[in-house]
């Protein structure tokens, strides 16, 4: 049967990405001075799982790297080696390499084999060092100590073939039996046969009669030995056990188990007989003779592979027991088992569901409108049914929308790494605190917020946090703090990046802005001055670093955030720190809007841009020659945007004071939108115009109203900006 493994690639890719992310989280959390065993185990498990999958799906580059990781991690978790920060660095780099390899297999870029080789080398060096230091007292030369590791690597490389070294050395069994009643010819014959199996060494010589005890080192299995002896010796008086020279008391019961297992095999000797003779060269699996349900006709390979190495069992068991004892309490307490309680669903399916629920909301609204025309007394049941339907529909919509919601920790989790790397590069000491990681927002926003946020974090670290000497001189702790905080406020999510660094310098920013020819004056509010740092080409960094660039990016941050329907606020105090807040809508799919009418058309104005609505008096309206109309609102003169002019509509009113002005604010500018009338406030499902049509100037999307009609959503920011250009 042939199976197309490719169909599982995608699952493997996703799974590996998650494991890598988990691994990184654990690594960053790891305290080098007192590493949490559970974390080490988790990291080991992640590497191990990736290795297993990579091996199965034939991604050998990943197998190699994860194997190196696993080797070193195994030593760490077994306590053979102490965790050092350079190891954590190497692990992080290895994680990056694996990410790259993963992307390469996904067809998203090219892995760098040279970098991979370098990290492999580094990991190998680290595990080698460990080996040497752990066995310093053995005073053996380093070269011979490297052997086992190379052997292990070799073993993985050709996992399907058994290691020749292992077969050659074999195991040592301690054999005891009573020779009473066996004639000397039979005894000689017996020893000759045993010698053919391997190296025979007498422990108890003939001085003690009728009792033989000797050691046999052989690559053959216990069954072979049994086989050889059982014809001559009474099985009841025969004892074969693995030679376990250094067994401690703790392992006594374990040894007993092993012995009893070996003894148990006596019954299956006959069955194993035929198999024992032929040694297959194709291992990769095997059965334990005598184990429950083991097949009757065992292959020889089974027995070969089954050769037990007592020393390694001993060491392994000891350490592993120690590990599991220490960690078991923690493990049961933590036990996230996320996979067991969640399912993977494609985002298309979720979006389809959201769309359908959106339709349902519209249908419900239409029905409600129709039902409202019936007498509520006569049609009491209809009305109560409609009320029930409305509640259910709202609940359904809310829960469906929540499917797309993800905790912001998906984004926050990447910053410990960013901060760690960057702080090291800049010789700064920084602690990253995160608050409100469980705050949820739309998956689409999660993806989009990551880059701008990264930029802000880097900027805080680069320009905000001072170098330790400066901090100490200013009476602060040498270590700076960057805090990422997320919380809900109304229908928005607020994400803050704050630092306890130098703060923004008003004078410097103003001077710089003047130098750049930006329209500034000394009477600007602090808030206005701070926002200048988001202007294109603006940078106050004294030294240009390759970290937060050359003033490139902060303007992009602002654009990206506005593109997501969000806005930025800055608070800062010189010498104390800076806090940048991003306010975003909870979801991209739904918008709180105000519906306005112009002629027979209806438009939606996003609520988050609206300051207020008012009906102006004729006296408030002024015409500025050549620049259209302005309206005076609380001492400010705002440009008037007449929607019917922009969209070439036939309005019901043309005199501004007969209509309504909706005061909008976008990107720090205000303008007044002139419409016929306000209709109402709605939560609308945003639909794309572009999926079947094209982008339309002044329109950001469309929605379907309760009557089934399409209403266009105004691109408020673009309208306001256009009005500013006209006015200037």
């Amino acid at each position: 049967m042939s199976t197309d493994l490719e169909q599982f690639y995608e699952i493997f890719f996703e799974e590996s990405s998650e494991l890598l992310a988990d691994m990184e989280t654990c690594l960053l959390r790891l305290d080098v001075n007192s590493p949490d065993l559970e974390d080490l185990n988790a990291i080991f498990r992640a590497a191990h799982s990736i290795k297993g999958g990579a091996g199965t799906f034939g991604f050998t580059d990943m197998t190699e790297m994860t194997h190196m990781l696993e080797t070193l991690l195994d030593k760490l978790r077994k306590g053979e080696l102490e965790v050092r920060s350079e190891m954590v660095d190497a692990f992080l780099r290895a994680g990056d390499i694996i990410k790259g390899q993963l992307a390469g297999h996904r067809g998203e870029g090219q892995a760098d084999p040279a970098a991979a080789a370098a990290v492999c080398e580094e990991l190998k060096r680290l595990s080698d060092e460990t080996q040497v230091s752990a066995k310093e007292n053995l005073v053996s030369n380093a070269k011979s100590e490297l052997m086992p590791i190379e052997q292990e690597v070799g073993e993985i490389a050709e996992m399907a073939t058994s290691s020749p070294a292992e077969v050659a050395s074999g195991l040592t069994y301690c054999i005891e039996f009573s020779s009473a009643g066996i004639n000397s010819a039979a005894m000689e014959n017996l020893f000759a046969n045993l010698q053919q199996l391997g190296r025979l060494e007498k422990v108890v010589s003939t001085d003690e009669k009728e009792f033989c005890k000797f050691k046999l080192t052989t690559s053959k299995s216990e069954e072979d030995i049994w086989e050889t002896l059982a014809f001559v010796v009474d099985p009841a008086k025969l004892k074969i056990e693995l030679d376990l020279p250094v067994r401690s008391e703790i392992n006594a019961s374990e040894a007993q188990t092993l012995i009893s297992n070996v003894t148990a095999t006596a019954s299956s000797v006959g069955e194993a007989e035929s198999a024992a003779a032929n040694i297959s060269s194709e291992p990769g699996y095997g059965f334990f003779p005598g184990a429950p349900a083991a097949p009757k006709n065992l292959d020889g390979s089974d027995l070969t592979e089954n050769s037990l190495q007592p020393k390694s069992i001993d060491n392994g068991k000891n350490d592993d027991q120690a590990v599991s004892n220490k960690s078991s309490k923690k493990a049961s307490a933590a036990a996230p088992a996320s996979e067991a309680s969640s399912i993977r669903v494609s985002i298309e399916k979720v979006d389809q569901m959201i769309n359908l629920v959106g339709e349902l909301v519209i249908t419900q609204a239409m029905l409600a409108q129709t039902a409202s025309q019936f007498d509520p007394v006569v049609f009491e049941k209809l009305h109560s049914g409609m009320n029930q339907l409305e509640r259910n529909t709202r609940d359904l919509q809310e829960s469906v929308m929540s499917i797309r919601m993800m905790p912001i920790s998906f984004v926050f989790s990447r910053y410990p790494r960013v901060v760690r790397d960057l702080a090291a590069k800049l010789n700064k000491r920084v602690e990253l605190k995160t608050v409100g990681e469980n705050t949820e927002l739309d998956k689409g926003l999660i993806e989009k917020i990551a880059d701008p946020l990264t930029h802000l974090v880097r900027n805080s670290l680069d320009h905000g946090i001072e170098i330790p000497e400066k901090r100490v001189a200013a009476g602060k702790s040498a270590q700076g703090t960057i805090t990422l905080r997320a919380f809900h406020q109304g229908g928005s999510i607020i994400i803050e990046v704050s630092d306890d660094g130098a703060g923004l310098n008003r004078g410097k920013i103003l001077a710089k802005a003047k130098e750049r020819g930006l329209p500034v004056h000394d009477g600007m509010t602090d808030q206005e001055v701070w926002l200048l740092i988001f202007e294109a080409g603006f940078s106050t960094a004294e030294t240009v670093t390759d970290v937060s660039g050359r003033g490139v990016g902060m303007d992009v941050v602002k654009r990206n955030i506005q593109g997501m329907g969000g806005r930025i606020d800055i608070e800062s105090a010189l010498g104390v720190g800076t806090r940048i807040s991003i306010r975003l809508p909870l979801t991209l799919a739904i918008l709180d809007g105000l519906s306005v009418a112009v002629g027979d058309q209806m438009f939606i104005v996003p609520l988050n841009y609206i300051v207020e609505s008012l009906q102006p008096t004729a006296a408030d309206i002024k015409t500025v020659s050549g620049h259209g109309r302005v309206v005076q609102v609380r001492g400010e003169y705002l440009p008037v945007i007449a929607l019917h002019e922009i969209f070439n509509l036939h309005p019901n009113v043309t005199a501004v004071h007969e209509g309504i002005l909706v005061i909008l604010e976008a990107e720090g500018y205000k303008a007044a939108l002139f419409v016929d009338d306000l209709i109402g406030q709605h939560q609308v499902v945003i639909k794309s115009l572009e999926s079947n049509y094209r982008r339309v100037q002044g329109v950001s999307g469309a929605t379907i109203m309760g009557d089934g009609k399409v209403a266009l959503i105004l691109d408020t920011a673009a309208l306001v900006m256009a009005s500013q250009q006209e006015a200037v």
Partner: protein, 121 residues
């Protein structure tokens, strides 16, 4: 009646590959994500063979083996270890815990079916 196999692995890709392969060969497959999950499922399903990974969160394959062998129905059914560790150490532990045999990862579907075929035909 089709034989039922309990496939235990914390790696979804491996588990699904195993399940796919086994189902293709006519076996019924129950999947479990770790030892604990497997133990729960073993208690509520009639299983003819257990195929388990060793290194798993919550409860590893060795613990699972030991606990399964204490259940009356699982005393005699084949339990195979699926593991990347081809070393003898892990095999010895598996054997002590009551494993019937082992299969080293990576493996291909053909070998998987071959091994399963040997124990439950």
């Amino acid at each position: 009646m089709a034989k039922t196999i309990l496939a235990v692995d914390d790696s979804a890709s491996i588990r699904q590959m195993v399940a796919f392969t086994l189902k293709g060969a006519g076996y019924e497959v129950i999947q479990a994500v770790d030892g604990q999950d497997a133990l729960d499922k073993a208690n509520t399903h009639k299983v003819n063979l257990v195929l388990t990974d060793i290194n798993m969160p919550r409860m590893d394959g060795l613990q699972l083996l030991e606990l399964l062998r204490q259940l009356s129905h699982y005393k005699t059914i084949p339990i195979l270890m699926l593991t990347t560790e081809s070393g003898n150490e892990i095999k010895a532990k598996g054997r002590a815990a009551g494993a019937t045999g082992w299969l080293v990862k990576p493996f291909d579907p053909k070998r998987l079916l071959e091994v399963i075929g040997k124990v439950i035909g």
